[in-house]
């Protein structure tokens, strides 16, 4: 395993995340896409830290990113839940009263 392998996997994860973000209608699936993006960056950070830079700053950064991701998803799920309560659907297409 070299750095390149990790970078390839993380780039693939990032691409999958963006794909999920753009194509999914269900809010929960979109959130999963966002998680993939964050984790691809995490993989980058840890791989660079292990194989490239030789310091621990990247590992430390990754720990904080995990925390942020958890906080973000907690807030996002709360809002998706409110959406479901108000409209009985998790579909983003139906949240369409604001436009113009």
């Amino acid at each position: 395993m070299t750095l390149q392998h990790y970078l390839l996997v993380s780039a693939a994860l990032f691409a999958l995340g963006v794909l999920g973000l753009l194509t999914r209608r269900n809010a929960v699936n979109v959130l999963m896409g966002i998680e993939l993006i964050l984790n691809s960056a995490n993989l980058n950070l840890v791989a660079f830290s292990r194989y490239g830079t030789g310091n621990l700053e990247g590992q430390l950064f990754a720990v904080f990113v995990v925390v942020i991701a958890a906080a973000e998803v907690a807030v996002a799920l709360a809002i998706v839940l409110t959406l479901y309560r108000l409209r009985r659907t998790p579909n983003l297409d139906e949240a369409d009263i604001l436009k113009g």
Binding site: F14, I37, N44, I68, E72, L98
Partner: protein, 497 residues
């Protein structure tokens, strides 16, 4: 030990806010009649204390917390601006004069306001990629909750949903860019990155740096609502409670510019004598120029056809972000000064406009421009003040908005002929903007209608704050020399390692 003590001392503004935030949460648990008043007083005291500590740090420059953050005059200017914005919002918008917030729980609002302010300050002082990302996400997450404040309201919920999905996507892209930046440079500290890039780059590194800059700009563009990352802005501003909209349109945007400035100037450039020399001869200005021109144009053109005042002001705030970006584009000391002067002016003119919109909504329950005729007769004070705010937003002398535009345009023009096209685009945009601002005034003053509706009954406090904000737009020109001195003295960025 010494370093920790010194850091704590220079961290007092943030500590004051943290203390106030915890106390507000604690008081909110009490079941007493006085708790709302107590929380408001605590919030104001925390903000005022933080402001006082900031003023006590004047002229201080250096790193704190082992280089995770810096204290420097430019950061301090932004901190004063950001605390000022929160203070004004807490003073001016109350649960009494906003129909949307009326009857909602107050504790969370004040706690969230303090939390956003705290994270805004962290953002203004961040000096490390990890700190930068943490602060940016903290601002975002707390703003998402603020936007969703009206729990049973479908618009508020939808606005927050769009905000969070858009925000998470763009900050995710930014994080990916930051991770690549760490991989290239081997450090997360901004001065360290500058040193690495300053030592020279291979062609492969330069190509990757372009990619990194694009990805990272997604995060900054989202925070400052710059094109093409502005799509959330109109929906969020329209759906959020108006006091929250007023706050979001000023404070996180200013913090976004603070971090943008620090990232580009401190991380990627070295301060030269006149203009900053960008390391590695990457062609930043062209990218930023394009973004600035597009941001202005898209914001202004889209605002032309809006009839919902909140949505109109949202597009206008996108356009103003474009003007502020002119100061960043210039990449010079004068550009940075233009940027901070513009943000200062933007604070008073935009908050004023939102206050008038809130008060009209409080009385009539409408944000629609088509319900605005006849206001001149029914609410002369509001109409005259709105005229002042709008003329200021247009950039008509002697309002502060004119001074802001003067500084950014001058900074761009003096960079030389290759920048003049941008100044021309800016001038054309100012003309477009004048149309839709003037249309609001025409509706309020000249158009006939609403003859049967009664005159406005405004609380004395509301009248006083409208007047104060109007005066804040008119008077500064008379003691401009002092503001100029303050802005000039604030132009130092701590750049050491």
């Amino acid at each position: 030990m010494n370093e920790i003590q010194q850091s704590l001392q220079r961290f007092l503004p943030e500590l004051a806010l943290t203390g106030a935030l915890l106390l507000v949460v604690l008081v909110d648990c009490a079941q007493a009649a006085w708790k709302n008043a107590a929380m408001r007083v605590l919030t104001l005291a925390g903000l005022a204390g933080s402001l006082a500590f900031c003023l006590g740090l004047r002229g201080v420059s250096g790193e704190i917390w082992s280089g995770m953050m810096v204290v420097d005059p430019l950061g301090l200017f932004f901190k004063v601006l950001l605390i000022g914005a929160s203070l004004l919002v807490a003073l001016v918008f109350t649960f009494r004069n906003s129909r949307e917030l009326h009857g909602q729980g107050q504790g969370e609002f004040y706690a969230l306001l303090l939390a956003v302010t705290l994270s805004n300050l962290l953002m203004a002082g961040a000096n490390d990629l990890a700190m930068l990302y943490l602060a940016l996400e903290m601002v975002s997450i707390t703003s998402y909750v603020m936007v969703a404040y009206m729990k049973g309201d479908r618009m508020s919920n939808e606005a927050s949903l769009k905000y969070i999905l858009f925000g998470a996507a763009s900050t995710g892209a930014m994080l990916y860019g930051l991770s690549l930046l760490y991989g290239i440079t081997g450090t997360t500290s901004l001065p360290g990155i500058r040193e690495f890039l300053g030592a020279g780059m291979t062609d492969a590194t330069r190509t990757t740096m372009y990619l990194v800059a694009m990805l990272v700009f997604a995060g900054f563009g989202f925070k400052t609502a710059a094109v093409p990352f502005h799509f959330w802005c109109p929906d969020v501003y329209q759906g959020a409670p108006t006091p929250v909209t007023a706050f979001l349109s000023v404070a996180p945007k200013a913090a976004g510019f603070a971090i943008l400035t620090r990232f580009f100037f401190s991380g990627l450039a070295t301060p030269g004598a006149d203009a900053w020399d960008l390391t590695g001869s990457i062609d930043w200005p062209w990218v930023l120029m394009l973004v600035s021109a597009l941001t202005m144009t898209v914001g202004n053109v889209a605002a032309l056809t809006q009839t919902n005042l909140k949505r109109l002001l949202a597009y206008s705030s996108i356009a103003h972000a474009g003007y502020v970006m002119l100061g960043v584009v210039a990449l010079s000391a004068n550009g940075a000064r233009g940027m901070i002067v513009y943000l200062l002016a933007y604070l008073v003119m935009n908050l004023g406009a939102f206050l008038v919109v809130t008060l009209i909504h409080h009385q009539d329950g409408t944000f629609d421009l088509r319900d605005y005729p006849g206001l001149y007769r029914r609410a002369p004070l509001l109409t005259v003040s709105m005229a002042i705010f709008l003329l200021s937003l247009m950039g008509i002398p002697p309002m502060v908005g004119f001074m802001g535009k003067l500084y950014v345009f001058a900074a761009v023009i003096e960079r030389g002929p290759s920048y003049w096209w941008l100044a021309t685009v800016g001038a054309l945009n100012a003309a477009i903007a004048a149309y839709y601002y003037a249309r609001i005034l025409k509706t309020m003053i000249i158009d006939a209608g609403n003859e049967e509706k009664p005159a406005f009954r405004l609380a004395t406090a509301d009248q006083a704050w409208v007047a104060v904000l109007a005066i804040a737009n008119l008077l500064p020109i008379f003691f401009w020399a002092r503001i100029e001195d303050w802005a000039r003295a604030s132009l130092t960025l701590y750049a050491g390692r």
